[in-house]
């Protein structure tokens, strides 16, 4: 029997000040994005962990429109997914909820099954040229934007339109590759499980392939060791991340290191701290995150041996494959070997990390640069003010049809307040809304978002705040005990100490470096193939995902145990309420580095 969580509180017709429905006038295929509206309780909506800060007007509309309602729905139609039509989006305040769109008509499902029977093999046979072709196309466009002189371009209209098209095209490529790769991987996964292979071993078969994200981590770590060698450890130790750039500038002898750091940024620093969010800066725009990472690496005395970790990952992979094959009949080995080869060629867990470097972390940057240049020209109070406009308003301003000063400027002020109001409410947002099923079928929701029957049940537990033992997906094996740091977003990563246990809604590539220092991780969302699961395995950090309510049940400062082998998280000692209150920064008092504003 389905439980219904009403959406009435959020379907008020009110949204960002000055919002009009036509602000969402964007392409969609099955269902368009919007704020919650009456009747939405018939769907099943989950709080999307990718945007735990909330989204500005421009970020909200462009991502939900061009990303989810175009990108996923387009890919779900073209592969197609027989019973699924992609993802749609709704907003409760600034917070995005997603929902999988089902195809229920049996005839349509059958017709779509016939189409995927042609298209999936074609994709797998041509995987390399399809993915690399798409990636190179995006890199070419990226190089084009790198060569553009935004300040010297008289009319920015064309650049803004092109910047949006770049993002939209990136999402076609992203989901066009992701869906068939995931289908192939999960088919292999199911076959392995049916052949009696321990499901917890299956992820290992495809691990140990280097990614651009892991390469970035090694470079950050190398810079930390260079800083130590250059005698800069004290500077890092005595300054907060946001003070470090200035402090290093004042430090005699830090010059050569800063040059190295800037060279590093030119290669690896074109990455934002969130997935496809025009509202957050890149490492180049704001050095706080990479300098904060270096600071925490310096706190650890023992050196992390990336090469040894990589060798271990490969050795573990070969051992896992050998162990699995030993228990299979000759007939099963033939299926396993062919499936493994197919998945090694089109390696979904690898792609799931690597593609972020080319797509998720940077495709919003050209649009952001254009908005910031426009803000400069319009004498806006803040360089990010244009991100509080909706797309039609932005077009009006850039084309000179409407002045920014006056009505729009005051709206931006009100919208900033609205953003901050909802940013502070993030931890109270319901994890799910609408008609909650006992189980969902969409593989992306299960394997990436972690919406399995257990977590769906967990988020409906009225006693979530007082429970001390919770079960999730055993994502990376091993047991760890430590002090919990409950983080709302990667803006708070600097609060993690070596040995901390990370507790958060979910992680994305911007979190990867912290796995070099944390002892364990516990996440509300995320399945076997989520970022935290994949990186937890690569780094050997005990990780449990899909707990549903870890950020509600666990308070900052609690002593907890993460058992990544059984998928259990236990609160051993509750933190004194006073100490928890002082270690959790009030969101409005200290604007997190990544939040526009």
């Amino acid at each position: 029997m389905a439980n219904v969580v009403p959406v009435d509180d959020f379907a008020t017709g009110e949204w960002y000040p000055g919002y009009k429905p036509e602000h969402f006038d964007m392409p969609w295929i099955v269902d368009p994005a919007s704020p919650f509206k009456p009747g939405d309780e018939q769907g099943f909506w989950f709080l999307d962990f990718h945007w735990s800060r909330g989204l500005t007007p421009l970020a909200a509309t462009l991502w939900s429109g061009d990303g989810y309602c175009w990108g996923t729905q387009h890919a779900a139609e073209s592969l197609p997914l027989p019973p699924g039509r992609g993802v749609s989006a709704r907003f409760a305040g600034t917070h995005l909820y997603g929902s999988a769109l089902p195809e229920t008509d049996p005839h349509e499902v059958g017709a779509r099954a016939n189409r995927i029977a042609t298209n999936l093999p074609h994709f797998l046979q041509n995987y390399r040229s399809i993915w690399e072709g798409g990636r190179d196309e995006l890199e070419n466009t990226w190089q084009y934007f790198r060569g553009v002189d935004f300040a010297g371009t008289p009319d920015l209209t064309d650049l803004l339109v092109k910047g949006r098209r770049y993002h939209k095209r990136a999402m076609e490529i992203h989901f066009g590759v992701m869906y068939p790769m995931l289908a192939n991987f999960l088919g292999f996964y199911g076959a392995c499980a049916d052949m009696g292979i321990n499901p917890n071993e299956i992820g290992k078969f495809l691990q140990g392939e280097d990614t651009k994200i892991m390469e970035t981590d090694r470079e950050v770590y190398r810079l930390a060791m260079r800083a130590r060698a250059a005698g800069l450890s004290d500077v890092f130790d005595t300054h907060e991340p946001h003070e470090l750039r200035a402090a290093l500038g004042r430090e005699p002898g830090a010059g050569p290191w800063l040059t190295e750091f800037d060279d590093f940024l030119q290669v690896y620093g074109w990455r934002a701290e969130a997935t496809c969010d025009v509202g957050v800066p890149s490492w180049i725009e704001d050095n706080t995150i990479p300098l904060g990472l270096i600071k925490t690496f310096l706190k650890k005395d023992d050196e992390h041996d990336f090469e040894a970790a990589a060798r271990n990952a490969m050795a573990e992979r070969e051992e896992a494959i050998e162990n699995a094959r030993t228990g299979l009949t000759r007939e099963e080995q033939a299926v396993f070997d062919a499936g493994l080869q197919s998945n090694q060629e089109a390696n979904f867990p690898w792609w799931q990390d690597d593609h972020n470097y080319y797509i998720d972390l940077k495709v919003m940057l050209p649009l952001r640069w254009g908005c910031q240049e426009l803000a400069r020209r319009e004498n806006a109070d803040h360089k990010d003010d244009m991100l509080y406009l909706f797309w039609p308003e932005l077009m009006d301003v850039v084309s000179g049809r409407k002045p920014y000063q006056g009505e729009l400027k005051s709206l931006v002020g009100e919208r900033r307040q609205y953003f901050d109001h909802w940013h502070a409410r993030r931890s109270e947002m319901p994890k799910v809304l609408g008609t909650i099923p006992e189980a969902v079928e969409d593989p992306i929701l299960i394997e990436i978002f972690g919406l399995n029957p257990g977590s769906i049940k967990a988020v409906q537990n009225p006693d979530a705040a007082t429970q001390t033992v919770m079960k999730g997906v055993p994502a990376a094996k091993g047991t760890a005990r430590g002090i919990a740091r409950v983080l709302q977003s990667s803006d708070e990563m600097h609060r993690l100490e070596p040995g901390s246990i990370l507790v958060c809604e979910s992680t994305s590539p911007s979190w990867t470096p912290v796995f070099g220092k944390i002892a364990g991780a516990a996440c509300d969302g995320g399945g076997m193939l989520s970022h935290a699961a994949i990186v937890g395995r690569e780094y050997g950090v005990p990780t449990v995902t899909a707990l549903g309510v870890a950020t509600i049940s666990i308070a900052d400062g609690d002593e907890i145990e993460v058992d990544g082998t059984t998928g259990t998280v236990t609160i051993l000692n509750k933190a004194a309420t006073t100490s928890a209150a002082t270690t959790t920064p009030a969101p409005t008092a200290d604007a997190p580095a990544g939040v526009a504003g």
Binding site: G187, G190, A193, P199, T329, I446
Partner: protein, 377 residues
């Protein structure tokens, strides 16, 4: 030296076994008549022996012997009277009470002098062949009729292991006859409208193999029906504790194509079927602690079992399960002894069979788009 020289000189020729013979020997009966005369259990042993599989020595007390006993002793009329009294829709309690009454009649009705003579003669011949005095035997019910191989009848009829001496053998034979009238069997026939006359029972008397280890083996996976593997379950001592589900056995899976052991799960085995010399029978006792967690079979023994199962399946041309015994005196390289075999009724659901190739479309359809959770989640 053959049994034919002593017991039935004129029955040795192929196809000449008389339907009225009270006893047929496993190694002498024409396999084409073996099931009709000796019941399905004994008949299959005869077939196996003829096809070169190692089986124990022994003979069947035929269905004719049973029918003649019932007819000549007056049991037939008394049984029919009890069953008639039951009517067509008796209560469970009435069926049980009728069953107890009939089985009591079998125990109290002595075997006629003629048949006693034939059985004594055959038992003495078995002792001679085994070079033993009062050789311990297994006395097994061996039912006939179309329904006899029905899964409903699995384990329904009596088996006595370790019976020694002609008096005890005769008692065991009469008990086996009576087990044609257990409550379950009676109820089954009433429900199906089958007369007990349509499925007379034979009884096997076979040399008891002194078991070091025993077990069952399936030429397909007994649950999933997957035909690419052989599944073996085993424990120390005789197989009764396994067949009756009294012990959690070691579980072994073997690839059929190449004979590789795919997995060997050692169980904690609490009960063992062992020979009790005081009682003169195999009974179930607590497993000695030092044996409980020890792995029962080595690679060579697993290979010998798998080899026997493969050749039995090839002989019949359909999947089989078998009961096997490894005797105390078996040496590496010797075949294992097969004491029972029958067809496996489980067949693989098409979606559970191991796919022939890696087909990403079919797998995605099966695991992602079927609306069922991915296994192992």
């Amino acid at each position: 030296m053959t049994a034919a020289d002593i017991s039935e000189p004129d029955a040795a020729g192929e196809g000449t076994t008389h339907s009225c013979d009270a006893v047929v020997w496993i190694d002498e009966v024409d396999p084409r008549q073996a099931i009709a005369a000796g019941g399905s259990k004994m008949g299959r042993l005869a077939e196996l022996m003829q096809s070169g599989v190692q089986v124990p020595q022994g003979f069947a007390v035929t269905v004719d012997a049973y029918s003649r006993h019932c007819r000549e002793s007056g049991l037939d009329e008394r049984i029919d009277a009890v069953i008639e009294r039951l009517g067509s829709s008796p209560t469970d309690a009435e069926v049980e009470s009728a069953s107890a009454e009939i089985r009591q009649m079998f125990r109290e009705t002595p075997v006629g002098a003629d048949l006693t003579g034939r059985l004594t003669e055959a038992y003495e011949e078995l002792c001679l062949r085994a070079v033993d005095v009062n050789v311990p035997v297994a006395v097994r019910s061996s039912a006939t009729g179309e329904d006899a191989s029905d899964a409903s009848f699995a384990g329904i009829f009596d088996t006595y292991l370790g019976v020694s001496g002609i008096e005890r053998v005769l008692d065991a034979v009469r008990n086996c006859w009576g087990s044609l009238f257990t409550g379950r069997a009676l109820a089954y026939r009433l429900r199906k409208g089958i007369s007990h006359h349509a499925m007379p029972i034979a009884v096997g008397v076979i040399e008891l193999i002194h078991a070091r280890a025993s077990g069952v083996a399936f030429s397909v996976h007994p649950v999933t029906g997957k035909s690419d593997r052989i599944v073996v379950e085993t424990s120390w001592g005789w197989g009764e504790a396994i067949v009756q589900g009294l012990v959690d056995p070691d579980h072994v899976e073997i690839g059929k194509a190449d004979g590789r052991v795919l997995k060997y799960d050692v169980a904690h085995k609490r009960i063992v079927s062992a020979f009790d010399f005081a009682v003169g029978a195999v009974t179930e006792i607590d497993m000695p602690a030092k044996l409980a967690d020890r792995r029962v079979l080595d690679e060579e023994q697993v290979g010998a079992i798998a080899s026997a199962v493969r050749s039995i399946e090839e002989h019949y041309g359909y999947p089989v399960d078998v009961e096997w015994v490894i005797g105390r005196h078996r040496r590496a390289g010797d075949p294992v002894c097969i004491v029972q075999t029958r067809p496996v009724t489980v067949t693989a659901a098409p979606e559970e069979a191991t796919p022939a190739t890696y087909d990403p479309v079919a797998l995605a359809q099966k695991y992602l788009f079927s609306g069922k959770p991915i296994p192992g989640r």
